[in-house]
Structure formats: structure tokens, C-alpha cells
């Protein structure tokens, strides 16, 4: 019998006439595609089309092609479905994958369009006028009460103002990716960029490495079910604390970092023995219901001198009621991770079939919090495949205060979305702990690219605000009147609170 029925997904095509025979492709590939015998000899089966070799080939002689083997057409049994069955028949295992849901579900963002001013009100030119993106993350009072300052003016009444909010220069933050799932250099790049941008990075569930302490004022420290790296100093170091309940890519299940990735550095940061698997439980074993969450929120607040404490959940069917409960339990923000959110490793069946789109989640949570009069009590962070500044603007118009980007930041650092994060072989040195790979990311280079990306998107959001005729992001936030739907069904429009184009 053949070892596998599964034929390679890609074909590595080398133009040997142009090839320098330098062997750089062999050196660059993290997947072990290439052998070398006078010239590079690729094993197509190992290629993930990450284009590391293509990018670094000095002769530009490598082409990665789809292996277009004809299979009998069957709209029901897709090629992928057939391959999955062969794979499971060979291994008996759960299929693992990385990054976000790649199934062709309808993208709601792509069916929403924004408004612009014409004649009756002027658009505003962000090149010539102030265009404000500053955002405060956290709980705000419902009203402001003031007292006379005895000099004809007013001052805040005792304890009446906004407290314990994190100031962001732009409503774009970095989503949680743990040290362990990504390399330390990735973490450093994110932390340095967040500090320069005046925004936040997020540790994910793997703790905060000592090298990141100088940037801790721009870091959200996460407390997940495994409690990796959590101690009082950790809680007090960050700008805010996040309880991770769920993740869009794998709602309802915990994380798994294989022992091979737990080297000395990861071990000391996570506070677990070297070489052991880091398995975070599916639920927090001290949160079996909403009242338990409240206790944890307040324990963390007490332990940290009342830093903002947010709760990250995966967007699931009943997300509005859950979010309402989270806000009533005392959370300063609710982080909604849509079903297209990325991951370092997840069972494919979970990633591709569980959860709802972030657009819907933001819309229903924002509306529910308003209906209950508690919208001011917490910020909403939207995440789960924010692909462009247009998605940022649309998410904010639907009701998000802030968006978080993860996959996009990895792409800024070289990721080509080959979905092999769980293998630990990332050729771009991102989702790996192999020193020969991780050193490929220079944090200074990474930080610059991340600053560029977020600055570019921020400028584009400013352009959008200007076209809308408003000069502050809070005037777009939740302003669904500025959105119209094209090609969405009536019920979805109603759920989104968005009119169809033409109305």
C-alpha cells in the first residue's frame, strides 16, 4: 500500500537554467522541502506555499504552483473533504490547523458600504483639519457631575469622573498571541510597536517575558484558564488585565502548546517545567458561571489596584446575553472574537464550524447593552478577521470601541497565511521557537513594519471619517445610519441595525 493517498497540494517548480545552485532555498525552508545534490531537489509533499524560498531566491527561479490534479467533480464531496477522510483514516487523529476559518462563509463586512457627505453637509479634509482617533478603553460613568470651583468655573465632583481607562491614540490594538505560540521576537516587535503607536499589545495566555517589562505600560496581560505566567507582579505590570474565556477560532476548548516548544525561556515565562506540554483547560475551573466570573474580575481588580479588567469571549449564538452578563459582572471591556479569528493551533472541525461572525456579534452586543442602559459601562473590542481599515471603520460603525488585529500583524511580519502555525516550523520565524527560525525576525524591523501598518490604517480611518463629515471617531462609533447593506437579507439587516442601500 502507498504510505498516503494524499497527493501534494503544491508543486515546487525550479527553473534550473536560472538557478544559482546557491542552496539558499534549502537554508530558508522551515518545512524541510529541499534536499541538495548539486542542485536543490524539492519534495512537493512538504511544501506549504509560504513563499519563504521564493522571496529569498536570488535568481527568482522558484515558482510554487497548485497541484492541479484533476479529481472527479463533485460539489458535495469537495477535494478537501475527501483529503480529510484519507488523512483521518491514516492517522486516527483530530485534524489540526492554524490561522482562521478559511471556509467561504459570507463576509458581512464585504456587504456593507459607508456613507459620504455631499452638498448638504461638508466632508472634512484630514490633511487640513484635525481628525481625532483617540479612544479610551474602559468603564465610563453614565453621567458627569460637577461642583463649583468657587471661581465662576466648575470642577469634577469627588469621584465623579472617568477613572481607570486606558488611553489609546488609535482604536486599533493588537490581539492576544501568546509567547510560545509565537516567538519572543514577535512579542518584542508587537510591544515596541504598541509603545510607539500609543496603543496596546496583548500577552495572550503565555505570560510576559522579562524583556518586555519596559513596554508593560502598553501591554494587556491575559489570564487564561491555564494561568500561565500569572502572579501578582504580572497583574500589576500591565495597562489592563484580560480574562480569556474563549477564542473565536476555537470556542469552548483550551490551548495546547506541545512540550517541544517549551524551551527554557518559555518555561520561565509560563512558570511551568521545561519540556512539558502546556495544556490550558477548556473552561476556567474557577468559572462555572457568571457569578464566578464576577469573583475573578474583582479578585484581579483587588490584586492590581483596580486596573481595567476585560473579558474575552468567542462570538457564539447567545453572545448578547453573555456580554450583558459580563458587563454586569464588572468587566471594563468585552472582547468579542468572531469565528474567523486566527489561532496558533486548533482542531479544524472546531475552527471551521463553531461561532458566529464578529459583525453580528458586535451589532447585537452593542444593541443589547444600549437596550439595558449599560453601554457606557464597558468598551467593546471587536476582533476575528479585521483585514483592512475598511473593516476597522465598519466594525466601529456597528458599535465597537476598538478593534484588535492578530493575523494582520503576523502578515506584516512576513506571514503568508499558509496555516502551518501548529507545526512549529514557521519559515518566517513567527510561530516557532526554533532559534534558527526565530532569529529571522529582528524586533526593530518588525516594530517598524507594525507601526507602518497601524499608521496606514489609522490614516485611512481618518480619510473615512473625513468623507463622513465627522472629525472624531466617537461620532462614527455605533453610527449605523452611516452604513448601508448590499446583498444582505432583510433579517440580517435588521439584526445588524443597518438599512439596505437605497433607503
Amino acid at each position: 500500500m502507498p504510505q498516503t493517498l494524499i497527493q501534494p497540494e503544491f508543486k515546487v517548480d525550479i527553473d534550473y537554467d536560472k538557478c544559482h545552485k546557491c542552496g539558499r532555498c534549502v537554508q530558508q525552508c522551515g518545512w524541510g522541502v529541499y534536499a541538495f545534490n548539486e542542485r536543490p531537489l524539492p519534495d512537493d509533499a512538504k511544501c506549504r506555499a509560504c513563499h519563504r524560498c521564493v522571496t529569498y531566491c536570488p535568481a527568482h527561479c522558484i515558482t510554487i504552483k497548485k497541484n492541479d490534479l484533476a479529481m472527479k467533480t463533485n460539489d458535495n464531496w469537495s477535494d478537501a473533504a475527501r483529503k480529510s477522510i484519507w488523512k483521518q483514516a491514516e492517522t486516527g487523529g483530530v485534524l489540526l490547523t492554524g490561522m482562521g476559518n478559511d471556509k467561504p462563509y459570507q463576509s458581512i463586512f464585504d456587504h456593507l458600504v459607508l456613507d459620504a457627505c455631499q452638498v448638504t453637509n461638508p466632508s472634512i479634509d484630514p490633511l487640513r483639519e484635525p481628525m481625532e482617533l483617540r479612544t479610551y478603553l474602559g468603564r465610563k460613568p453614565d453621567s458627569v457631575s460637577v461642583e463649583s470651583d468657587g471661581d465662576g468655573g466648575y470642577r469634577l465632583a469627588e469621584g465623579a469622573g472617568m477613572t481607570n481607562n486606558v488611553e489609546l491614540a488609535t482604536p486599533i490594538i493588537f490581539s492576544p498571541m501568546s509567547y510560545g505560540s509565537v516567538s519572543l521576537n514577535v512579542h518584542k516587535s508587537l510591544a515596541m510597536a504598541a509603545t510607539r503607536l500609543g496603543t496596546l499589545m496583548n500577552t495572550g495566555e503565555g505570560g510576559l517575558h522579562a524583556d518586555l517589562y519596559p513596554y508593560a505600560g502598553n501591554v494587556i496581560v491575559q489570564v487564561a484558564s491555564g494561568r500561565f505566567g500569572v502572579d501578582p507582579e504580572y497583574l500589576n505590570r500591565g495597562a489592563a488585565i484580560e480574562i480569556k474565556v474563549g477564542q473565536g477560532a476555537k470556542p469552548g476548548i483550551g490551548g495546547h502548546l506541545p512540550g517541544e516548544k517549551i524551551d527554557r525561556q518559555v518555561s520561565s515565562t509560563r512558570m511551568i517545567p521545561q519540556g512539558t506540554d502546556a495544556i490550558s483547560p477548556a473552561p476556567h475551573h474557577d468559572i462555572y458561571s457568571i457569578e464566578d466570573l464576577r469573583q475573578l474580575i474583582y479578585s484581579l481588580k483587588e490584586a492590581s489596584g483596580y486596573k481595567p479588567v476585560g473579558v474575552k469571549i468567542a462570538a457564539v449564538h447567545n453572545v448578547a446575553a453573555i456580554a450583558s452578563g459580563i458587563v454586569r459582572a464588572g468587566a471594563d471591556y468585552v472582547y468579542l472574537d468572531g469565528f474567523r479569528g486566527g489561532t496558533g493551533a486548533a482542531p479544524q472541525v472546531i475552527r471551521d464550524n463553531i461561532g458566529i461572525p464578529v459583525e453580528i456579534a458586535v451589532a447585537v452586543v452593542d444593541q443589547r447593552l444600549r437596550d439595558e442602559g449599560i453601554r457606557n459601562q464597558a468598551s467593546i473590542i471587536a476582533a476575528g478577521s479585521i483585514r483592512s481599515s475598511a473593516d476597522v471603520a465598519k466594525a466601529i460603525a456597528l458599535g465597537a470601541d476598538v478593534v484588535a488585529i492578530g493575523s494582520a500583524t503576523l502578515m506584516a511580519l512576513g506571514c503568508h497565511m499558509c496555516q502551518g502555525c501548529h507545526t512549529g516550523c514557521c519559515s518566517w520565524g513567527l510561530t516557532t521557537q526554533k532559534p534558527e527560525l526565530t532569529r529571522r525576525v529582528d524586533p526593530e524591523w518588525g516594530a517598524e513594519r507594525l507601526v507602518n501598518l497601524v499608521s496606514a490604517w489609522s490614516h485611512e480611518v481618518q480619510e473615512i471619517l473625513g468623507a463622513l463629515g465627522v472629525n472624531a471617531v466617537e461620532s462614527l462609533r455605533g453610527s449605523r445610519e452611516r452604513l448601508r447593506a448590499i446583498g444582505l437579507d432583510e433579517q440580517t439587516c435588521r439584526i445588524l441595525g443597518v438599512k439596505p442601500a437605497g433607503m
Binding site: R134, Y136, P141, G469, S479
Partner: protein, 410 residues
Amino acid sequence: MPYDIDAVRDFDPRRFREESPFKIHGGCGLMGICDESGSLMGGEIAIRALAIQHDRGNGLGGGFAGYGIYPEFADHFCFHMMYADTAARQNAEEVLGRFFAVDLAEPMPTRAVKGIDDAPLLWRYFLRPDADKLHAGDESAEDFVVHAVMLINGTVDGAFVASSGKNMGAFKGVGYPEEIAHYYRLEEYSAHTWVGHNRFPTNTPGWWGGAHPFTLLDWSIVHNGEISSYGINSRYLEAFGYKCTLGTDTEVAAYLFDLMLRRHKLPLELACKALASPLWTEIDRMPEDEQALLRSLRAVYGPGMLNGPFAIVLGFNGGMVALNDRIKLRPLVAARTGSVLMVASEESAIRAVMPEPDRVWMPKAGEPTIARVSGMDWPIHGDLHLSPSALSCAVTGTEFSCAEETVEVS
């Protein structure tokens, strides 16, 4: 409650049918003048100020409100009413009779004006709240009046309360403001404060109630501009129970004032700072205490910030306040001569009224221009305790919904 709440709830809203659900876009001209000494000025002043701004409107709406116009009935609530027909008048008068002692009821004095041929029946009433009914509940007189307004606007088909304050009245309709003024014989009234409006809507509302100023009790609001943040402003207000049904920006401005001034008890100056907030870079340069105040104010009331081009004049018995948007995208000029403060969309309007003012200036973006009539109470809303939805219903005359849905999370 002194009225049949079910009747209100079941009412099919038709007041603003011609104007909603589509939002009305448009520009406008406006004016406001206040003699802070309390001396009265004839209506021709307001007419002159708007007639010279004729081209800022398109003949589809003009209106005025005057304060101090009924000194002989200073303690009565004066209702200016619009009726589609006599049946509407009879039905509305029946409601008025249930709430009030009617000391005088008369048709509004009008004169025939060429071009105005679709006027509703216009009546005015000088009313005292019925003592027995008022004291039966724990409502203030103001609450009581708003309930009556709400009941008429919400349930009496073809009747609309154009104004309901003490010693003031609104005169508005479809036409150019000088035509409307001529029709209402505005020159026969004298007021210490006048506000006026010349409308340029981009559709063709044919309804007299839709003209500015919008009023409730003794406050009135005129507005030039389009509020680009209307979407979030209205959603923000809805969370506090207001129902934004008119589809005009003016409505959200009115409710935001109500929310901040009456319910959150913010001083007028600070409410203006919340509605047209300073830039963050300006706030960052303020002294520390002020920074903390302004930062909180902006973060908390951010969803209520009026963004986009506007100039607003809010009139009330104690004076008036004029406010521009935060980067002054709509014109507003102010001038002072002695105790008289005047604001208008154009300086021409000011020169038409006071050719040689002591001082003329452009109020800065977001800086309120305030006139206070000496010796008059400052609170704008009097003693009012109504819920926002009741207030919305009273102002717009649309459906009253008091359903309070709560959702439990276990």
C-alpha cells in the same frame, strides 16, 4: 396618570408622516436677539433679521418664538395650536378642558398673505392647570402641561401644539419667514427675546408643525445645519428612553439639551462643551483640573457629541444660548449693543437690526454665546420630572411607547 395611556399607545402616528422616516437634509438661516435688561423689542426686529436672509431659505418653512409677549397672562401657560379642521379643534379643546381652566381661547390674529393659502386653523389658549387634577397626583405644573401636550399630539388627530410655555409663543408655518410673520401679525408682539428661523429643506414637507422652532414648555430651538453624527446621537438618546422619530437633527439637539441640563444637571456652559467638545490637543493643554473635567465630559458624552456642521439657538424665558459646531462649519455671527445681544447666520442680519453695534464678533467654534435676562430664573425646564419617552412623545406627537424590556442573564 390623568389621561388614558392606552389611547396614546394605540395611536397610529401620522404627525410627521410626510417628514419621516427619511431624514431631512437642508441648510437654513437663523437669528436670535435678547435684551438682557428685559426690555421688550417689537417683532419687526426679528422679521428684518430674517427677511434680509431671505435667500437662506426656500419658502418651505419659517418661524419665530418670542418671550415676554403676553405680559397680561404672564402666569398662564399659553398653548398655540394648529388644527386641520374644526373637528380636531373640538376634540383638542375637550382634552384641554379636562386638564386646565381655560381663561381665554381665541383664534390667532392673522391677516391674509399672498402665497399662504394652506394654513391650518390657528388658535391660542391661556390656561391654568386644573387645581384638583394637578394636586391629585404628585406632578409639578410642568409635568402636567407636558402630559397634556403629549396627549393632544399623540391622540388627537389633526391637532398639534406649536408651543406651550408661559409668556411665550411660537409662530411658524410653511412659507418664507417674512410671509409667516406677516401672516401672524408678528409686528404686533413685543418680546425681550426673539429667535427665528428660515428653512431650506431638500424635500417638500407640507406640514406647518414641521417648521422651526421646535418647542416644549418655555424652551424653543432653531437650528441650521446637518448633524453628521445623527446616527449615534439618536441611538445614544434611545438608551436613555428618548424616541427620535422626527428624523430631523433638531430633535436630537433638543433631547441632548434635556438630558444634560435637566436630567444630568450639567451647567449650560458644560453641556455646550459636551455637545461641541474641544479637541483633545486643546484639552491636553488645559490646567490639570480642567483637563480631568473635560476629558471625562468628552469620554462620557462622546456618543452625544454633535459632529458636523451646525449652528443652534436655544431660547427660553431666562435668555438664549447660541452654539456652533466644534470646527465652525456653519456661520454664526454675534453682536452686542448695550444690553442687547444678537446672533445670526449673517452679519447682514445684525446690521439690518443694529446698524452700528458696539461690537461684532465671530463666536469661536464650540464656544457658547449666552444671553441672560436679568432677574429671570436660569433653569430652563422649570420643575419637570417626565420620562424621556414622554418628552419625546410630547415634542413630536408620535407614538408613545413605555415598554421597558429587561433581559435577565443567569
